[in-house]
Amino acid sequence: ETPNPFKCEPGEKYVMNVMVSGVEYWFPVYEMFKQAGQQFGCETAYTGTPEYDVNKQIATFDQALAQKPAGILVHPMNSDPFIEPINRAIEQGTAVVTFAADSPNSKRVSYITSDNNAEGTYAADAVAKAMDGKGEYAVLENPGQDNHDKRVNAFVARMEAKWPDMKLVGRAASNQDPTKAYQAVLSLAQAHPDLGAVFMPEANSAIGAAQAAKEGGGKIRVMLADVNAKILDMIKAGEIFGSVNPDQGMQGYMGFMLLWMAKHPDLIDPMNDAKRSGFNPMSVPFVDNGFSIVSKDNADDFYWDKYLKRRGTKGIEE
């Protein structure tokens, strides 16, 4: 009988690191990261800075690194600033996997994300279909945040390519601020009485945008990416048209697996040049964790607090 190889050494610790650590997008990611860790008998920790500041995030990354963990699952706020810290981590023997945002030029072993382009594309199809391929739409943006920009660009590109009668009538920056989104949608609705849909790449703006749409008589379909309890309620009430939501759980679970594998390359005897070249045989360059379409019908399954209650876990606090 061989001992179970899928088990951590005592003290083997895996860390997740993010910026704006207080917001809920990360919680399901960490939840599954933690579940995987527990199944392997490993320690896990959730770290990051509460602020939206790459400099501060790197400081927390460095501090986590100073404790020599086995691996770090990081969401690099900006890609290139993380090259040097990530490479330093790899050098000291800490495995690094990026999630939801990448640092492609670093030596991180894997990158796991949902496909932002696919999300934008899908959202565009859903909106256009509901409008019979004809009408006016607008987008709210958060210029400068990479994954958000990708979703918006894919949305617009898809409309142009596949839905020629869908007309883009306005772009406004809402910067994840519900009041700004509210004002922007009200103004857009004034300028374009026939506005039929508005897309935004995140959930914060959607609260304001949906309220404005509602006050405008409910003709405007609000489409977004990501969800939270409020958004789900509004989807169920028909005040929000729908959302594309990355599968955060898979992101966390697979993120852990990727780290663990990268940390234990000796589990396999590679049938390639890995040993000769020093390449990590257990590295998987890219994983797509997929996304879900949230609509009236399935919204109930996405509530985070209900999940926590059902599972009886303390979320990021353990």
Binding site: G22, V23, Q190, I207, K230, L232
Partner: protein, 307 residues
């Protein structure tokens, strides 16, 4: 009068816009603009009075959010929304009192005290919500009406805003108690030598500013039917900017509510115009900043000529 210059500038912008976009001079757009700044306008009132007394409050955004979050959490815990809101506003007042304590008793300045409060209160929002927006979908319609309903096609939000502004504008011009605010801000020592308890004055104005922020938070809750832990971040700069554009001095002693509201209106007209003109998002910030700078310069120039 400072206000005259601002009115001229705002009107000029509106006229220019009415040529550029047929939608600009409509009640719908006007209503949209008013709606977009009327809740923030309530916070501006408090900030202006605080600036007059020589203080500043960087924590207003956090306090707006905390009031929202506390009221929301209480509602979800079974309180009726009106009681919950009153408690939310009360808690905001307490935060103001705590800041007032640090300023008047310990002797810290308003800037650093309210900066710390901004961080602490934002943290409390996270603690209460555990980072997830509270969905207050079940708020009774009567309560939601505060934020979403209207009377004769005039939204209650705008009515509340107008009432608050009118009351405080009147009080600030006419009430004896508020005169002391000017004395204290103009020359604190001379105010003390006139028998005014300047610490008390500063304390209560600090409390007032937070209380109005709390009120705004509750109205936001009624409007959005949600309480988001990140709500209002960065709001303080916009609000201070409005008050300063409207003639409030950062050194205390001068400012009017009406002016500050005009400042807010100017910012709102500019933002709204850029969207109506369909300016590229990459250029919006830059143009907005330039218009702001130009407006303030022109206003300054008009003002200087007169005096």
């Amino acid at each position: 009068m400072r206000e005259a210059g601002l009115i001229v500038i705002i009107l000029a912008l509106c006229i220019a816009m009415s040529f550029a976009s047929p939608h600009f001079l409509t009640w719908g757009n006007f209503r949209a603009m008013l709606m977009s700044f009327s809740i923030e306008g309530i916070v501006v009132v408090g900030m202006t009075i605080l600036l007059i007394v020589g203080g500043i409050d960087l924590s207003v955004g956090s306090v707006v959010c905390f009031s929202m979050v506390v009221s929301g959490a209480l509602f979800l815990a079974g309180f009726d929304p009106w009681t919950a809101s009153l408690i939310g506003i009360g808690v905001s007042a307490l935060i103001g009192a705590a800041m007032g304590f640090f300023v008047t008793v310990i002797g810290l300045n308003h800037f650093i005290t309210s900066l710390a409060a901004m961080v602490i209160v934002r943290g409390m929002c996270l603690v209460v919500t555990k980072g997830t927006p509270l969905s207050l979908f079940t708020l009774p319609p009567a309560f939601k009406a505060i934020g979403q309903g209207s009377f004769n096609n005039i939204p209650y939000v705008i009515l509340i805003f107008v009432v608050v502004v009118a009351i405080f504008d009147f009080l600030l011009r006419r009430a004896t108690a508020f005169r002391k605010v000017f004395y204290t801000g103009s020359n604190e020592k001379a105010a003390q030598f006139s028998g005014i308890r300047t610490k008390q004055v500063k304390f209560w104005v600090t409390v007032l500013c937070s209380t109005l922020a709390g009120l705004a938070g509750v109205i936001y809750m009624a409007r959005f039917g949600a309480a988001t832990p990140t709500f209002g971040a960065g709001m303080e700069l916009n609000i201070i900017a409005a008050a300063v554009i409207g003639g409030a001095s950062l050194n205390g002693g001068s400012g009017t509510i009406f002016g500050a509201i005009l400042g807010m209106a100017l910012l709102s007209v500019v933002t709204s115009s850029l969207i109506l003109l369909d300016i590229s998002v990459y250029w919006q910030d830059m143009i907005k900043g330039c218009i702001l700078l130009a407006a303030v310069s022109i206003d300054h120039f008009l003002h200087r000529k007169k005096s």
